[in-house]
Amino acid sequence: MPNPVQYKQTWRFINIWVYLALGSVGIVILAGIASVFFVKPLVSKTVEAREEEPVRLEPLAIKPQAIGGLRVDVAASIPVNRWLTYEVQLRDQQDKILAAGLKNAWHETGIWQEEGETGTWQEDDLEAGLDVKAAKSERITVVVEVLDYVTTSNQDIDEPVTFKINVHHGIIDTRYLWPGFWGGLLMAGLTCLFSGSTGATIINKRIGDSEVGERATLGGANKLVKVMVKVESDETSPSTLNCQLAIRDGNGDEIFNSSRVIPLHFRRDEDGDITSVKGEATFYLILEKVGSYGFYVEITPDAPVDATQLIVKQGVVTLGAIKVGHISASA
């Protein structure tokens, strides 16, 4: 008399690593979204400077901070066909330079010709950016200095240049998050991919018949056993086949008997002829007692069946909740 098999829906064998990997990719996205909340504007000003006449902003108090840095963004605006070299400087209270960045800015226009068509183009590169992290609390002054301002025909221009200066603090460099996101996504994908290969294959037997059986030693209260039955049949198959799995213990007593309906997938070539018919059934079990167990599969109706493969894996993990047949030790 077989012991009653208890079926339970369980999350116990879920592959936590897949969720940790996917979750960490989610955290990169959250980190990207959260970065905007740390930013605080300090200065937003439009000023004018010319050669020999740098422009100075009001001194700002800065202090060392663990998260984020101080960002100075400067955008020059100049008419077309001019080149401008300017420097963004940070100066301390003694007017000594703390940091300086050089920008070669330009604004040009021209005519393009291609395959008999013509048109005009206009491009520019006028913005400079300097990010700094403070070493100590101090007052700094932002200075923008025009070093060289010429036309494209190399004539000096003695005109003021308008600069839009924006200073923010708490800036987080989101450029680092992109490799983190793509690299993380790739690794998380590999984690998912290899999740299916977890576990040891105990039985892998394929025969050209509708019945297959094999005996092996396996089991344990904490090991999930996955029994996969793969069927190949011919074009005379019905749309489904019936798969019966029986498990016998070391004494030959039947401890498990269950049947499943296997839906078949018919693959056809371009003429509509059936080239292959395949189907599979999966059983999840816990065999509480370690021992010798025989697995016997029978596919009915047997006439169209070409081959049956029995795969038994132990110690497998799953991506979601599964229904597990629990076979207790008292059997």
């Binding site: 897949v18 590169d125 590999l190």
Partner: protein, 76 residues
């Protein structure tokens, strides 16, 4: 187990990138001679560096007059 290895690598990659972003590793460290992690933005180049705590202008700054414009395809 391969899944563990890949998952730990994923977490490592993610943690490194978030740490680098939030500590603003790419920023210019004021009053530091060495700037190994400086990552310029908007093609703004540093025009000097510190030597014994004093800002020293780099020789390339004096050649700014040699900049002669961008061209089609260089801007954005």
């Amino acid at each position: 187990m391969l899944t563990k290895l890949f998952a730990v690598t994923t977490i490592g990659v993610v943690a490194t990138s978030i740490l680098a972003a939030y500590t603003q590793r790419s920023a210019f460290q004021l009053r530091q001679e060495r700037q190994p992690n400086y990552w310029s933005r908007r093609s703004t180049t540093l025009s000097g560096g510190y030597r014994r705590g004093i800002w020293v202008v780099s020789p390339t700054r004096s050649s700014y007059g040699s900049f002669r414009g961008g061209s089609l395809g260089v801007g954005k």
